[in-house]
Symmetry: C2
Subunit: 168 residues, 2 copies
Amino acid sequence: MELAEAKKKFIETWGKLGSEWGINRTMAQVHALLLISPEALTTEEIMETLSISRGNANMTLRDLMGWGLIEKQHKAGERKEYFYADKDTWNIARQVAKERRKRELDPVLKALDELTKVEGDVNDPEYKTFNKSVTDINKLAKNVDRTLDTMLKAEESWFWGSIFKIFK
Amino acid sequence: MELAEAKKKFIETWGKLGSEWGINRTMAQVHALLLISPEALTTEEIMETLSISRGNANMTLRDLMGWGLIEKQHKAGERKEYFYADKDTWNIARQVAKERRKRELDPVLKALDELTKVEGDVNDPEYKTFNKSVTDINKLAKNVDRTLDTMLKAEESWFWGSIFKIFK
DNA sequence: TTAAACTTTCAATATATTTTGAAAGTTTAA
DNA sequence: TTAAACTTTCAAAATATATTGAAAGTTTAA
């Protein structure tokens, strides 16, 4: 396979994976493009390479910055803004986990906590089943949350740190 | 909060979480409904409770069965099919992980493996960056894959088994 | 067989999400 | 200042995804 072809395929693959994970395709593709670029790129270059509009490129780049996956770079003597991606996969995984935790897990935990507090008749099967499922799911969600928290601070924990080092 | 209200809220919350995780809202809602139902429900009952059409209900129920999250139940002397959900959260998490791995991770791993094999000039920064990123991501993806595999077989591994027991 | 009781299918429709692009806004150098 | 170089915004359009519901298909009991 040619390098050029391989690049296209990588961008496509990353885009598909992203869209399956609730990250929009373009965002994942821009990220992929920056991941394999040795140099920071301008909005123009990104627009051109991926055939997307200026507006789309701008929004996507801002989103990616919001996710902490890319950063702006200013080149001396130039007005244009350049963008580059953090290439450390471990950081990428951490950032994504961190953002999704904040955006998705936290609100769910809050809702579940309220729902476990709902009171009812212990002899009512409707109530019993409801309560058991909600409590169990809440327990699982809390554990996931706690693990993510530990993972995000992995550097500080010898235990998880040594486990996660395997992944690097 | 009333039980009835709490049920609605649970279905809504689960639906939202599902849609953020690439599982469609209705599918997650039907699953939520069955999770909190002490008895197996018919298609009719599900349609009515969630205000969805027969077609939608049918497709969703089949999808859920495909994911291994619900099962059909036949009641003696009745023609109708009843559906009920596995209420063990650990099983739910395992099933979801298993399905997503098969559907999403496996194809990506295959694509990445090919891309790491692409050859090029080691002095070309374009090639070097491409190769490094793809190789790193491939490594991470393989580790995730291996971990999921272990997790799905957790019962057999004293090491992971004892770690994951914490989650139950 | 037959017909009632169900389940499944799928083209049409509705809804949600993403993208565009032109206009407005901002910054900088002269 | 001013105007060129750039960035941002957002309503409208395009695209993608989910849902409907009526018709077709299947199963079962008599």
